[in-house]
Amino acid sequence: MLPLRELQAAFETALRGGPAASAAAEILGDGLAPEARLAIYRHHVFTTLTAALEAIYPVVCRLVHEQFFRYAADQYVRAYPPSGPCLFEYGNSFPTFLADFEPCKHLPYLPDVARLEWALNCATHAEESAALDGSALLRLPTEDLPRLTLRLQPSLALLSSPWPIDQIWHVNQPGADSDALVDLASGGVYLEVRQSEDDSVFRTLDPATHAFRDALSGGACLAEAADIAFEMDGVFDVPQALRNLFAEQLPVDYAVSVPSPEDA
């Protein structure tokens, strides 16, 4: 008889698809091989985690077909089991896993489609904050504006891809035209993902707006974000971009960054 900690370690090994002998030695067969009883539990672990991945990555599942998806999910679950009990948080490394997964190397856009689906999943479950009223900024001295930093809605995600993953996503929705073709050579996209009333949505942005918002959401101040946007678009309209953020209720808080000693 093993102490509970060792018994659970033996079960963990067996239920993740590893050797089952140590766990099997602890249980009675009662008319079945002890391993067959463990297999009942292992089957549940794998099928429910695969179902959780399928729910988060339905387009990936459609692109590779269900049978292959199950194979990939099986390999993923073995290597990267959940670290916590909330299944809507499981699968964040699946896009990276797919990028390195030899059998789907011929689908170079697949990891980026997965990243989009993961961003949509995160946005659906994010806790949104009350939007910041733009009039709050009117109180700021003008000389502080370049050092303004904004915290944006937690559900916001910005991603880009060299592949038309937006079109790929749309033609693989339930009810989409099954004959629709996507021209993979049509170029890349800059996308913004946000929570919606019922789940989450994405839309395309122009590269400069995408870069501006991405910089701000990464903690850059307004001057830095504007510089990054200007690199993409020499006539980027910063005041309008700022107004758009507030019109879309994206900022939830603001601060004025302290100048670093070298700036002083």
């Binding site: 659970q8 002890p34 067959a36 539990y41 009990p85 946005a123 806790e127």
Partner: protein, 291 residues
């Protein structure tokens, strides 16, 4: 009023259903006459539309939080972060009941997404008691602990499950959630008498009953019942439920359905069956009290 009386006052002694995502909008739109609803806590510890829907529903219906992820039986201890998230959810939702399982799910940092079996030993009892105590302290309220469905017996597990639960209640003051389908499934799989199990559970701590459907699978020529919550409650489980009501009295009963989730009406019809048996149990109980 004692804590038990306070809970009894808040929890309808009637049938409720497990609230699942596909039914939220329909329930909000049609407000069906259902006594109460239960949700899986782990689906709501984030934010977003799910939590917004639950916040609307809890205005009109008593809601119970049923945890599947605390892993009360893990030898290496509880997940403090998850416990904090659960406490925050309870503060928001103000559930009438909070329950978890006599099981474990976490070992070696991996969450195995299953309610895994424990050997019923003094060591397990100490670990469970410590964790249930920690949870009740962190949540500031009583926890109901549910009997699991089982597919195996351990070589060394000297304490019968009902006795183990009774001792857990004695040591921690927790309540019990009696899952009648789990008793039926385990009794078949491990060849024990389901009615005798019900008789062996302490009467007073049982504050909620679960019923659900199960599947019959063939494993190398042996029929194994699988607690898949994927069909109507089977007649033999309704029979055991009526037997349990005769012992525990008229208490909150929940119909669970988690795989192949049917139309809301099907779940409501199942709840009606439970309500019918609850009504008869009350009549029976009052007869017995008079006799």
């Amino acid at each position: 009023m004692t804590e038990r009386e306070a809970i009894a006052a808040a929890v309808p002694r009637a049938a409720g259903i497990g609230l699942r995502a596909p039914h939220v909008q329909e329930i909000l739109a049609t407000r069906p006459p259902i006594a109460w609803l239960e949700v899986h806590a782990e689906n709501y510890v984030g934010g977003g539309p799910a939590l917004r829907g639950l916040n609307l529903i809890r205005r009109d219906y008593p809601v119970s939080l049923h945890g599947v992820g605390l892993s009360l039986g893990s030898a290496h201890g509880l997940d403090a972060n998850h416990l904090r998230r659960l406490a925050a959810l309870i503060e928001r939702v103000e559930p009438v009941l909070v329950s978890e399982h006599l099981s474990w799910s976490v070992a070696g940092g991996a969450y195995l997404n299953h309610l895994l079996p424990l050997p019923y030993t003094e060591e397990s009892l100490e670990i469970l008691s410590r964790h249930v105590g920690q949870v009740q302290l962190a949540l500031g309220r009583q926890l109901l602990v549910e009997n699991p469905s089982s597919y195996l017996r351990f070589r060394h597990s000297p304490i019968p499950e009902p006795e183990f639960l009774a001792e857990l209640v004695r040591r921690t003051g927790c309540g019990l959630l009696c899952d009648v389908n789990n008793i039926y499934v385990s009794a078949h799989n491990l060849a024990f008498d389901a009615a005798a199990y019900v008789d062996a559970l302490p009467r007073e701590p049982v504050q909620e009953i679960h019923v659900a459907g199960h599947a019959r699978n063939d494993a190398d020529g042996l029929t194994v019942l699988i607690d898949d919550h994927g069909s109507r409650v089977r007649p033999e489980v309704w029979k055991l439920y009526a037997y349990a009501l005769a012992r525990f009295g008229r208490i909150a009963t929940l119909v669970e359905w988690d795989t192949d989730i049917p139309a809301l009406d099907v779940l409501l019809a199942e709840a009606c069956v439970a309500d019918g048996l609850l009504y008869r149990a009350r009549a029976g109980a009052s007869c017995a009290a008079t006799a």
